[in-house]
């Protein structure tokens, strides 16, 4: 019988303390460093801190689409950095980076860490269409399988078959999230969406139609991670890091798009990390009020809800349609924009601080995920009691 690991001691003792964004656009006309610096400065100020208080920076990039953390530390005139972390990863990174940052502040390696994602993801190199050669690509590029929308479409089809769900369940995710986005001034897509419009939209790669896919944008988002003790003296209510997990199962693949070694394409990393995640938080799925699930495509929301135990196998579409449990209240990456899940965490922070405008659901606890395929990370966040 599998048992969760012991609770890591930084959990419950570290917090998210500020968030910052740039505008999300289709052509920023600005450098990625400019975008990163704006979002990081905004997050630091939001926490009630100055750049001189921050001595750690963490970020990630894909296709060399962003800038090193040292560039941001330099641009913001940070007097010195004690902890920098740059990862070559995609959407699996945001919760993982917050976890690493929380450990760093808990262990005293840094006082406050700013974690960011910045990219000209629409006007620059686009993840959705650019090649990303890796050790596994020789066995998919020559047959015409070249993009994440293709890889995840294969997972989505098998997931729908094995769970008895349909493209209607995918559509329900897109419609529900757009309704949230209509109330989010940051969201790139805010026009009302409907099941009828969804069914009339062209396919990209079956079962995905255009509105099943995230919208690529230029922009940046950042959050600040601090010790809980320090957080209690800052400008905003602390959002406590209660639980954290990362999982890469057996057969995680040769590169970020290689699923050939993964046995069951109807279950992603969320199924593998759920036990550790809930164990680390000393909470159960029924204890959370809100979920912010990584959604480069609609299917990953359904798979994540089931993987985390928030819905029964085959029941995620019904949960989304019922509308009683809030999911992706910013509209998700589908509607707000593709900042690779950093904005998914930021929305959770705003919700738990009661700062999400008329989207605020009054949640005390929230689960957040990062990633779509073989590996990924997650956090359980909570208000400070």
């Amino acid at each position: 019988m599998a048992r969760p690991r012991l609770r890591p001691e930084f959990l419950g003792r570290t917090a998210l303390t500020g968030v910052g964004y740039t505008e999300l656009t289709k052509a920023s006309g600005r450098s990625v460093l400019d975008l990163a610096s704006e979002a990081c400065a905004a997050a630091i100020a939001d926490a009630g801190l100055a750049p001189s208080d921050v001595d750690g920076v963490a970020s990630f990039r894909f296709l060399e689409d962003s800038v090193p953390t040292q560039a941001v530390a330099t641009a913001l005139g940070m007097p010195g950095s004690n902890w920098l972390l740059d990862l070559n990863l995609g959407g699996q990174a945001p919760c993982y980076l917050v976890t690493q940052a929380a450990m760093a502040v808990h262990l005293g390696l840094a006082r406050h860490v700013v974690v960011f994602r910045a990219l000209n993801g629409r006007s620059g190199a686009r993840v959705g269409t650019n090649r990303a050669p890796g050790p596994g690509t020789d066995f998919r590029y020559p047959v015409g399988l070249t993009a994440y929308v293709h890889y995840i479409a294969l997972w989505a089809r098998r997931f729908l078959i094995d769970t008895g769900q349909s493209e209607d369940d995918l559509a329900a995710v897109a419609v529900a999230q757009r309704a949230w986005a209509e109330r989010n001034e940051r969201a790139y897509l805010r026009a009302p969406h409907s099941l009828e419009a969804h069914g009339n939209a062209p396919y990209v790669a079956e079962p995905f139609r255009v509105p099943d896919c995230t919208i690529e944008v230029d922009g940046a988002c950042a959050v600040v991670v601090s010790s809980l003790d320090a957080a209690r003296d800052l400008a905003r209510p602390p959002v406590v890091v209660q639980g954290a997990a990362y999982a890469a199962g057996p057969g995680v693949g040769l590169d970020m798009g290689d699923s050939m070694f993964w046995d069951d394409l109807s279950r992603n990393y969320t199924h593998r990390l759920a036990l550790d995640l809930w164990g680390s938080a000393a909470l159960a799925p029924a204890d959370v009020d809100l979920a912010e699930i990584y959604d480069c495509f609609t299917s990953t929301v359904l798979m994540g809800l089931e993987g985390l135990g928030l819905a029964a196998r085959g029941g995620a579409g019904d949960l989304v349609r019922a509308g009683t449990f809030p999911v992706n209240t910013h509209g998700g990456l589908l509607s707000e924009g593709y900042l690779h899940g950093m904005n998914t965490i930021a929305e959770a922070v705003l919700q738990l601080q009661g700062r999400a405008g008329d989207r605020t659901v009054g949640a005390d606890t929230c689960v957040v995920t990062s990633g779509a395929l073989m590996d990924g990370s997650a956090l359980v966040l909570a208000v400070d009691r």
Binding site: V143, L145, T146, L154, R158, P202, A205, E206
Partner: protein, 129 residues
Amino acid sequence: MIPPAGDVDAASFWAALDDGTLLVSVCGSCGHRWLPPLATCPRCASRDITGAAAAPTGALYTWTVIHRAADPAYANDTPYTVGLVELADGARMYGRVVGVAPGDLRAGLALAVRVRRGADGPIWEFVAT
């Protein structure tokens, strides 16, 4: 077609494909069969690896019909179907599924593997049995 970059671990795979044979990796220690080729068995880490002709048939595990090519190399191919096929010997691989109407695609569909010489070199594909 985007040609393979030619990883050294897969050199014998591409050489065999050029001769019309689809080669799967076989572990001499545990018998596992898989693709893409690796110097080690991904099940038991043995280095006793050989190649063997793939089982000629398999079953469709999942698929996608691609309507918009993400890469310009395939812009003239749309719509096209790519499947993940489980060969009868247990190895899995992606490949084009040709000659099957989208409405006839289903999990478990029996398919046969075929090696074809395209304008840019040899490539495997799957056809209805």
